[in-house]
Symmetry: C2
Subunit: 274 residues, 2 copies
DNA sequence: GAGTGTCTAAAACATTTGTTTGAATGTTTG
DNA sequence: CAAACATTCAAACAAATGTTTTAGACACTC
């Protein structure tokens, strides 16, 4: 079935690529002990932001691999599937990259590079904190639940968060830690007297609300089958998370303040919900 | 190399391996044209809560498979690994169950059965809603972040939530939907005028805060390396989620109430955070 | 004690999958 | 043009893995 990608080979393979005679000449290439592939053609653009001239095949491999890795994960993705989608030969991955694992790392970098060209998390750095919080939540929801399907970047990242691989560390430093840092700065400005624990837990509470919609999408789709992932729904989610979070932050602030004087006050606070 | 598990060798003699009479009573089946293995021995206890007398090997397979599936997922788990941990032969899985996939389904049921013997989500059904919310969050955090390592049940469930398989549907009906239902009931009692959307989003916000700590554990462990998963930490998390959520619920109630009159009121509400 | 049903051990089998290989083709360069 | 380099191709290879098979052990029944 992998024979699908026939169209590309227009030039050469119209001609019968002469069969046979494969291993028969044992010593065809005298010199060149190193397998030619040894010096990976991408050595000149390993991780730098350099332009990294994109030969068509290499680019297609990255893009196809992004989709497949995002859908299946590093382990379950098959190089055959990737190559099929990229209209490339099986050997292309081992030629352009060093192998599947290395391709994965390149895809992670590629995804980060692409995402960094997107909208920033906070549009207006000078706005008051409460407004930047709203912007952050909106941007985060949009990035994570991006309605347009080719958003494999976010899916790849989220998969990596749940099932880490060798790429997690660079992903954290590249993307996740800065994102948490932005939110942390906003929260600290909102509640200057929050201690480290409170800051951490509030950050997690806000991010967690957003990620739930992504991580548990299969479950939520079954529990609430009526709710498509429409743009309106995303707006509704963002508005809800913002509102819920501002209330939560206020409660945390009061809890913390009250905890010093009387631990029982928290119960009273909760009661105000009714 | 997979021959590693040699110790298994003397299985029968070390363990007195039970004398007998396991399903012998099953004498009911006189004939048996089918290859003996064909009719899986578990046909008499497929999914019912029946006692399902547990022959040592079968039980060990279920337990080992639970761990391995929880760690690796259905796809990446290998029957060889499971059998090694269960001190069983490779063929045992195909004998006792029909194969890997079927074993997985049995493990999911087994996990649900075990969890249902655990603490209920709400200890005191007659308590006021706000108190039941606290109980729910505590129980949920405990169940999801259970500190004692043999908590493969929760890990298996969470894995299934992120990467669904054929078992997701029964998992949803068995466990997830009832859990959401309990929380929904509590929230509805707290905010009787919440509409369906608000109810759904608040439920997701609360569950999402809790699940974040599990789903993103690898990331959080790197971002906040100081925070072990100690019992005290779990208590802290539960208290935080409860406090944050009560505040969030209150804010949502006010937002909803205000939205009908003036949409701009929300901004004012958020402002009170400072 | 032979027979039967239940269970396990070890090897074999079939399939999938990442990687390698040897050659052909295309492009550039002297 | 010829040599060198870069890229692609089809086939083969090697390892992992789910499943099946065959043989045998054990406990109980008749």
């Amino acid at each position: 079935m992998a024979k699908g990608r026939k169209k590309t080979q227009s030039p050469r393979e119209t001609r019968p690529r002469h069969p046979g005679l494969r291993s028969r000449t044992a010593a065809p290439r005298p010199k060149q002990k190193e397998p030619r592939r040894q010096d990976c053609p991408d050595r000149d653009c390993p991780d730098g932001p350099a332009p990294c001239l994109p030969p068509s095949t290499r680019q297609r491999l990255l893009e196809a691999a992004g989709h497949v890795f995002a859908d299946c994960g590093l382990k379950d993705a098959t190089v055959r599937d990737i190559c099929t989608r990229a209209d490339a030969n099986i050997a292309a991955i081992n030629y352009h990259f060093k192998g599947k694992e290395s391709l994965y790392l390149h895809v992670v970098d590629y995804a980060h590079e692409q995402m960094s060209h997107g909208k920033p998390m906070v549009l207006d750095a000078d706005a008051p904190a409460i407004q930047r919080l709203q912007q952050f939540i909106q941007a985060f929801i949009a990035r994570v639940l991006d309605p347009n399907s080719p958003s494999w970047h976010a899916r790849l990242m989220l998969r990596e968060m749940v099932e880490p691989s060798a790429a997690l560390d660079r992903l954290i430093e590249n993307t996740i830690r800065p994102t948490f840092g932005i939110l942390r700065g906003i929260l600290l400005e909102l509640n200057p007297d929050l201690d480290a624990d409170g800051l951490r837990l509030c950050t997690i509470s806000i991010i967690g609300q957003c990620l739930m919609h992504r991580h548990c999408e299969p479950v939520l789709a079954r529990l609430f089958p009526c709710c498509e992932r429409t743009p309106e729904e995303l707006t509704r989610i963002a508005a809800h998370v913002y509102c819920f979070s501002t209330g939560g932050l206020a409660a945390i602030q009061e809890c913390r303040a009250g905890a010093a004087t009387s631990p029982s006050r928290r119960k009273g606070k909760g009661g105000r919900t009714r």
